[in-house]
């Protein structure tokens, strides 16, 4: 029983989430109690699980199960290295979001109706944490799928929390439909490989890979890729994500985009690297192609958004693409027989998963603070918040730098690792396939630069210069608990970036579990100060030294300026001689992205409409109406036809749906006979 503390802490964490959930439901008549209990238990659960996850990650893995009468459906858990890693990521996010929610939800207590709903919000919030933590640790496909479905349903309830708005309801419906397509794919996939393994236990499934015939393997791959891909939000099955994530309450959006979509990544890592055995090359190529498409289209669509939360949601699609680049490369290296390179690519993939979770959660919380104090998430109505909400703005800036992959923060390190594994791929893969890697690398560079442009826009328009509306003008800084929640994550961005070379050894157990080798010795140089690409002379970087040198080199001019050049005069901004430079003269988010809208016009198919109203001369307009939109390509080209087809089939099906009980009995009888005939046949 020497594993008791880890197991106990983990189960204690689950219990805390469950208690948070129940108390939220019980205390729904007293909003203040529901909020305190819900957030408090959420925080407690996160801390307990975080400790147990860290213990399992650094020590040895733990397994246990709850006895069950039906052996196929055992409730067994395993806190192996990979599960522990995802649990730690979940706990970090859950802890900061719970702290944030103390302050964020306090505003909802006042309204009668919203107060009553607050209890339900904490109920579903904790249920989401509980089910997600089971998803990451289940070691039986049956339990995994139950938890998976619970996550989807809790997510649905949270997305449609504001159920009076049409936008929320239709987003929720779309989310629900996509979740069920996804659950269906996973069910079939697990049934397919479970049939060969003779069990649904993950240990047995690991052995099943070798038993699958190539067509079965391909079938399983496609089912899982579609299923997990919908969850992760890869293009083209992403359409629910930018609709659903922004309409949820901001603390929930942070969890949805931060960690819930990572369940898809978790599933892919488990299945593609463990359950499918040695995968043929085309699967890795397929993953890389989808990854590059998601990354580029995700960021391009993000650029066109001026709803702050939708913009962030599109960036999740982009980052899922970057994460999958690592996974695809790992699959190909594994097939080609380079386990060390595969280990390196797995590290790139999983490290970016954690990093994206941290900074995306931070950015959503920042957007939530803005929404909390200005009641708008439309960037065109914001501005000037840097002076009014200095801390929120600082934390958002940290997140923006991190997500743009700029050194020395954490996003840079994982993108660097991704680049290095792609470059290694050129040498490892013979033939034209090798050429795919550097091309993917250069497209990753395009993605990174576009993301930087997008976050210059997001931060610059939202937080800098002059406020564009009275709401932004009168914005107040968020309460301390909200700032504390963001502060933890902003600190994590720095710690994981600058301290990356000391953090990377954590992956030893994970690479051992997934690809069977440890990359520990190759990863760092010079007493852990420098991250190395794993091959001799390959490449190295040290975010710690970069940060130190930036501080030193920046301190010299800063000191110089402070000492000698005290003559600083604040003056009016140059207004071209016209009197008064107001917010209406500022560059807007739409204008900022205009050049890119024109460059990528073939993709966006922009449409605009300008109506000018004038009295005497067209040169002196009384009012101008401007409208611009881009074509939702995927909705129009893929989903509309599918929807039309489903409609058409449903109409035809109505012919047999007479509504008469006799007819239905006949159908059941015929079906039974057919099934029996199938069963009897040898």
């Amino acid at each position: 029983m020497n594993s008791f503390p880890t197991t106990g802490l983990f189960v204690g964490g689950l219990a805390a989430y469950a208690l948070g959930s129940i108390s939220g439901f019980l205390f729904r008549i007293s909003p203040a109690t529901a909020r305190r209990a819900g957030c408090g238990f959420g925080l407690l659960g996160a801390v307990l699980q975080g400790i147990s996850g860290l213990a399992a990650l650094l020590g040895s893995s733990v397994e246990w199960s709850i006895p069950c009468a039906v052996p196929l459906f055992a409730y067994s858990f395993s806190l192996g290295a990979v599960s522990a890693y995802f649990t730690v990521a979940l706990s970090l996010l859950a802890a900061s979001v719970s702290i944030y929610s103390f302050g964020y939800l306090a505003g909802m207590e006042k309204g009668v109706e919203s107060g009553r709903k607050l209890g339900l919000l904490t109920f579903f919030y904790n249920a989401l944490l509980l089910s997600l933590s089971v998803v990451f640790t289940a070691s039986n496909a049956f339990l995994f799928l139950i938890a998976w479905e619970m996550t989807s349903l809790a997510g649905y309830a949270l997305v449609t929390f504001d159920h009076k708005s049409e936008e929320s309801r239709s987003a929720g419906l779309l989310y629900l439909i996509m979740s069920h397509v996804e659950a269906g794919c996973l069910l079939l996939g697990f049934a397919l490989i479970g049939q060969h393994a003779g069990s649904l236990d993950f240990h047995a499934l690991r052995q099943a890979g070798g038993l699958l015939s190539p067509p079965q393997q391909a079938c399983a791959f496609l089912l899982f890729f579609l299923g997990f891909g919908i969850k992760a939000g890869v293009i083209p099955v992403h359409i629910w994500l930018p609709a659903a994530h922004p309409v949820a309450p901001s603390n929930v959006s942070a969890l949805l985009s931060g960690i819930v979509i990572k369940a898809g990544i978790y599933g892919m890592v488990r299945v593609f690297l463990e359950f499918l055995g040695v995968v043929p090359n085309w699967m890795g190529i397929a993953v890389i192609v989808v990854a590059v498409t998601s990354a580029i289209l995700g960021v391009l669509y993000a650029l066109m958004e001026h709803d702050l939360k939708r913009l962030l949601a599109y960036h999740s699609i982009e980052n899922i693409g970057i994460i999958l680049l690592g996974l695809g490369a790992a699959m190909m290296f594994q097939t080609a027989g380079y386990p060390r390179l595969a280990a390196f690519a797995v590290i790139a993939c999983l490290f970016h998963t954690l990093n994206h979770a941290v900074f995306k959660c931070l950015l959503f919380l920042g957007a939530g603070s803005v929404l909390h104090s200005t009641h708008t998430k439309n960037m065109e109505e914001l501005g000037g918040l840097n002076r009014r909400m200095p801390w929120t703005s600082l934390f958002f800036l940290v997140g923006a730098i991190a997500i743009s992959g700029l050194p020395p923060l954490n996003g840079f390190v994982s993108e660097w690792l991704t680049y290095q594994s792609l470059l290694a791929g050129f040498g490892a893969e013979k033939g034209l396939v090798g050429l795919m890697f550097p091309i993917a690398g250069s497209l990753l560079a395009l993605t990174g630069a576009l993301a930087a442009a997008c976050f210059v826009k997001a931060f610059g328009i939202t937080f800098l210069a002059l406020p564009r509306s009275p709401e932004a003008e009168n914005a107040q800084e968020a309460p301390t608990t909200m700032l504390a929640g963001m502060g933890i994550l902003a600190f994590a961005c720095f710690a994981l970036g600058i301290g990356a070379s000391w953090f990377l050894p954590v992956f030893e157990g994970i690479t051992r579990e997934l690809v069977g080798v440890s990359a520990r010795g190759d990863l760092t140089l010079a007493h852990g100060f420098v991250i190395s690409s794993g091959t001799p002379h390959g490449g190295s970087v040290s975010t710690a030294v970069i940060a130190l040198m930036l501080l030193a080199l920046g301190a010299i001019p800063a000191w110089f300026l402070a000492r000698r050049f005290a003559v600083r005069r604040v003056g009016p901004t140059w207004d071209c001689g016209l009197p008064g430079l107001g917010p209406e003269n500022e560059y807007t988010a739409t204008a900022f992205s205009k050049p890119l809208r024109m460059v990528f016009a073939a993709l966006y198919k922009p449409r605009r409409e300008i109506q000018t109203v004038f009295d005497v001369s067209p040169y002196f307009p009384k009012s101008i109406h401007f409208e611009s939109e881009i074509e939702p390509t995927f909705e129009n080209r893929i989903y509309k036809p599918v929807q039309a087809m489903v409609y058409w089939i449903s109409l035809r099906m109505r012919a047999i749906q007479a509504g008469s009980i006799h007819a239905y009995l006949a159908y059941i009888f015929v079906t039974l006979v057919i099934l029996l005939l199938f069963g009897v046949r040898p």
Binding site: P407, L423, L432, S442, A445, L466, W574
Partner: protein, 313 residues
């Protein structure tokens, strides 16, 4: 340790002193080619001296980002200059950041500069930021492809390793892949340093400005830092181009004679490249903003061809 500190100090002072000179040389050469007298090659030093003594006017609407941007621009450029080999093949901080760190650190400086442009609240600032981020985003993949070509043939992303490998095969620059990659990177150099045909460094014409629009509100020492940072960045990109493709004379040890040869050949190569830039600037007209993506697409295609030809030859 001491050797590293000394080499950092030496290279840093070289960069700080040399970068305004290169800009002065380009300006003067350009003037001579256009049969003007030009301001003389020491003009950038005089400008720095003047700007550093002046007071500053900070726009009312600006926040701390406006003041932080010049410092970030300057320090990132200075740091990057320590990661690339200039006179000796061993760059002082080569181990701590290769070519990816170079590109992303320059990106960090640009990120803050663009924010500084937006922070002023003028339409010019926003216009400049928007254009700068667009052009740099489109230049990035071409730059990476060209760099990957070199990095892959050297099997390393550390610039000192790349230089060492290039010294080993001194005729490699004639290989098709190297020629194509050089051409791609040269276009990127033009775009990134804001030269004709992409941007006109001498213009203050409202609708054609890119870089100048972004920094329109900066004055005094802040402007000096930004200008200096831009000159350092120009020197960095030029050095990257000459020392990875034509590593002749690059010193491989710390012998005095070798360092002197390295220094002389470095200056000579810089002069040649400056002349090439001037030639391109003088013989071309500035193209419309929305033709720039086409130019950068050419650079991307050249980069891709370079990569394919490493594969073929």
């Amino acid at each position: 340790m001491i050797a590293t500190v000394v080499s950092i100090a030496l290279q840093l002072s070289l960069v700080l002193l040399l970068s305004p000179l290169v800009s002065g040389i380009i300006k003067t050469l350009k003037a001579r080619l256009q049969t003007r007298r030009g301001p003389g090659i020491l003009q950038p030093y005089r400008e720095l001296h003047k700007l550093l003594r002046k007071g500053m006017v900070i726009p009312e609407s600006a926040s701390w980002i406006f003041s932080a941007a010049p410092i970030v621009v300057f320090s990132t450029a200075a740091l990057v200059s320590l990661m690339i080999p200039m006179i000796s093949a061993a760059a002082p901080l080569s181990l701590f950041g290769g070519v990816l760190a170079v590109v992303y650190l320059l990106g960090l400086g640009r990120f803050f500069l663009a924010l500084g442009g937006l922070d002023t609240g003028t339409p010019f600032g926003g216009l400049g930021s928007s254009r700068e981020m667009t052009i740099s985003a489109l230049a990035e993949p071409a730059m990476m492809l060209a760099i990957f070509t070199v990095a892959l043939s050297a099997n390393s992303t550390n610039l000192s390793e790349v230089a060492h490998s290039a010294i080993g095969q001194s005729w490699r620059f004639l290989a098709p892949s190297q020629v194509l990659a050089f051409a791609a990177l040269f276009i990127v150099l033009i775009a990134e340093t804001g030269r004709i045909p992409v941007d006109n460094p001498a213009t203050h014409l409202e609708l054609t400005m890119i870089h100048e629009a972004m920094i329109l509100e900066y004055s005094g020492p802040y402007l000096a830092l930004i200008e200096w940072g831009a000159w350092i960045k120009q020197l960095i990109l030029m050095t990257l181009l000459i020392n990875t493709f034509y590593p002749f004379g690059l010193s491989t040890d710390m012998g005095l004679l070798n360092l002197a040869t390295g220094c002389a050949s470095y200056l000579l190569k810089l002069l040649f490249l400056s002349a090439l830039v001037v030639l391109v600037e003088t013989t071309n007209a500035k193209i419309r903003l929305f033709r720039v993506p086409e130019l950068l697409a050419v650079a991307f295609v050249l980069g891709a061809l370079a990569l394919i030809s490493t594969f073929l030859f």
